[in-house]
């Protein structure tokens, strides 16, 4: 087995998907001035409800919808507490994370009667879509073809979000709300409405991220299976400056680390060591981000 080959890139693309989806959702929130620490919990809720949906309906499309809807419920809770009740968004975000962890663990026992993980060998995972023509190109076909629909959706979502922010009027207003909420309100822009909209879409994206985790890569759910990916998405979002294309790049970096850590296990490196990789990168990223983030916060003060 080699360290680097085409299949590593292919698995990177798979690994990138949940991080990318959640990071895009986080970027939407951050662009309306809300720092959403609850990504992790929203993804976890999505992962669990995707399995539940699949188990009871047997329909993958419905399962994905259920995943998105569940995460949107969590997002609405987040929106209600932060915007309506004006609670601190960090506190609410942390609460959402613990709520999701507790609820999914509890529901795992209540619904499936198992502890730790639920696995059903008869359950179908997300289909693998082959792209005609491309799949026949050696190398390239291996990388870009044969992924779950959510993988393709994630990349399209990044592009769509870019177009939304920088080409549409609503996107422009969303950016305005995040940049100076007081001025936006004085112009008569519907600040609260745009904020809630952003949080809800963020919830839906997190739900899809969860569905990809539990149905796309493996077909199972285990307690806390997000394993900090929501937080990594948060870092990817900051590293990408909440810019969709920047996030695409930074998510790739983290996806690559995820894929590498699995690959390195084949080289008889201890699992505990290899699974450290994405988090090491997160810490390293913080060093590089330090100055830029300070600059950003200085900028904010001066506009106030």
């Amino acid at each position: 087995m080699e360290l680097l080959d085409w299949s590593l890139v292919s698995s990177t693309i798979r690994m990138v998907t949940p991080i990318l989806l959640a990071a895009l959702g986080g970027a939407l929130c951050s662009r309306v001035g809300i720092f959403n620490v609850g990504l992790e919990g929203m993804v976890l809720a999505g992962a669990f409800s995707a399995i539940v949906g699949n188990h009871f309906t047997g329909n993958l499309f419905l399962a994905i919808l259920i995943a998105a809807a569940t995460s949107v419920l969590f997002a609405l809770l987040f929106a209600y507490m932060t915007i309506k009740l004006k609670a601190n968004e960090i506190v609410v975000g942390v609460a959402i994370n613990f709520l999701a962890l507790g609820l999914t663990t509890f529901a795992l026992r209540a619904i499936f009667g198992v502890k730790g993980a639920f696995y059903d060998k008869d359950m179908a995972g997300l289909p693998k879509w082959d792209i005609p023509v491309i799949k026949d190109i050696p190398g390239v076909g291996e990388v870009f073809s044969g992924h779950s629909p959510l993988v393709y959706f994630a990349f399209l979502a990044a592009i769509a979000l870019y177009v939304f922010f920088y080409k549409t009027v609503t996107g422009f207003r969303v950016l305005a709300v995040g940049s100076n909420p007081v001025a936006a309100r004085s112009l008569g822009l519907k600040v609260t409405g745009l904020q809630v909209l952003a949080i809800v879409i963020c919830g839906a994206l997190c739900g899809l991220a969860g569905a990809q985790l539990s149905l796309g890569q493996v077909t199972m759910f285990s307690e806390g299976m997000t394993a900090g990916r929501g937080f990594i998405a948060l870092v990817a979002m900051m590293m990408g400056q909440s810019h969709p294309i920047g996030i695409l790049a930074s998510s790739f970096l983290f996806g690559l680390m995820d894929a590498l850590s699995i690959r390195l296990q084949g080289f008889s490196l201890p699992t505990q060591f290899t699974s450290m990789l994405p988090y090491l990168l997160t810490v390293a990223a913080m060093f590089f981000l330090k100055e830029r983030m300070q600059a950003a916060s200085n900028n904010q003060q001066s506009t106030r």
Partner: protein
Amino acid sequence: MTYRLEMRAMTKKYGDFIANDKVSFSLAAGEVHAIVGENGAGKTTLMRMLYGMEQPTSGDIVLNGKPVAFRGPQDAIGNGIGMVHQHFMLFGEFSVAENIVIGYEPQQAGFFRRHDAVQKVRELSEKFRIPIDPQAKVSNCSVGEQQRVEILKVLYQGADIIVLDEPTAVLTPLEVRDLLQTIRNLAESGKSVILITHKLQEVMEVADRITVLRGGKVTGTVAREQTNVDDLARLMVGRELQELSERVALEQGPLLQVENLSVREKQTLLDRVSFTVHHGEIVGIAGVSGNGQSELLQAVSGLRAAQEGTVRLGGKDVTNKSVATIREAGLAHIPEDRYMWGTAKLESVEENALMGYQRKPAFNRRGIVLRETFRQVVTGWVERFAIKTGSRQLQELAGNLSGGNLQKLIVARELGHETPFLIAAEPTRGVDIGAMEYIHQALIDKRNAGDGILLVSSELSEILALSDRILVMYKGRIAGELSRKEATEEKISVLMAGGSVHGSNQRAV
């Protein structure tokens, strides 16, 4: 003559307090009508009613011959009334064009046509002769340019009546000149301008008519040709203005000695500045803001480290010492940014006044602050400076005070320290004529008592009225020094712009 806008017998009551008492006001097309008055005279209330932010208790607003009632600013904007607020409502990360069209963006099928926006802004800018680069980022624009963005924004929104609320408070003298020209241009293009201010000099330059408010009532509406600054001041204050008292000639030793003081941060902000303030002397520092004045004050007062040079206060070396040490050595400081350095907005008036006094033996017994004793002192300040503290009096949050009243509180606090040396940065920013008179007199009295004052002000008239010597700063250096006798507004302006004045003792640095 039919007016574009008439406000008839506008009255606004807050409980028993009458903010506006039968105020009538009219505005013709193409007219610049200034509303002047001291803080609390009711200017803001009147404009808030016009802009739909407050509902009048009684009175009518007649727009183009039709009575109207606005429920909110959106209503007012829809009827062609635009307001440029004192605090700009801009998005620093966006371009000028984006800031102007926001809320009414040119679009096609939901897509923002930025190119059209730039084009429209360019047309507006040419039509009203308001120069601006539509593609510049707003955070890179000067304050004057940002104000032009605000003016263009209300024009873009279709305003025929433009309300400018204290527009010159934040501008440099050059920018003020540009703004006044812009106001004239607007009037010539048929727009009507309401100018709210208390700077009478500017009013006399630009207004067609002037309405003076005092205590919520109109004390006069006059045409510019039939009045002068002194008459207006009398209408505003309700009495004759007093002359500043005589300067006692004092020949005394040095108090503050600054030598070769430099502040560097990537580039050099303050470049080997040397000067001395003597006892019984007011030294004024003039200059376009951003030429090192702030850095100089911060380095002298211990808020910022100097990389080179020495500061001696009363013979004691205080270079790069802590603020507490320097204040101990005899410094009081009226800071230029009253919100950032001068007050804690979320604390009460009393606690803000207490700042710096808590350790003094008179107000401190074994670590316990003597609130009762101190309260009498603050009450004295509030009376002497006529500080309007609002309904909760001393317990009102400092942030709820108007800018002028907050400034008075800071001035009272710093003068109260009775230190030999005072830094007064923009001591009268935002305060009305009455208070300005009082503060100026207090500074002169302090000087005559043998104390030294370093005065920084963007108002040349203030510098000229108070200073014994004037230093002009340009690009972090002292570009020239003028004595009280030889200083004129022209000479200072030339030095401020980086030129040289024949006969001034320039320093070869």
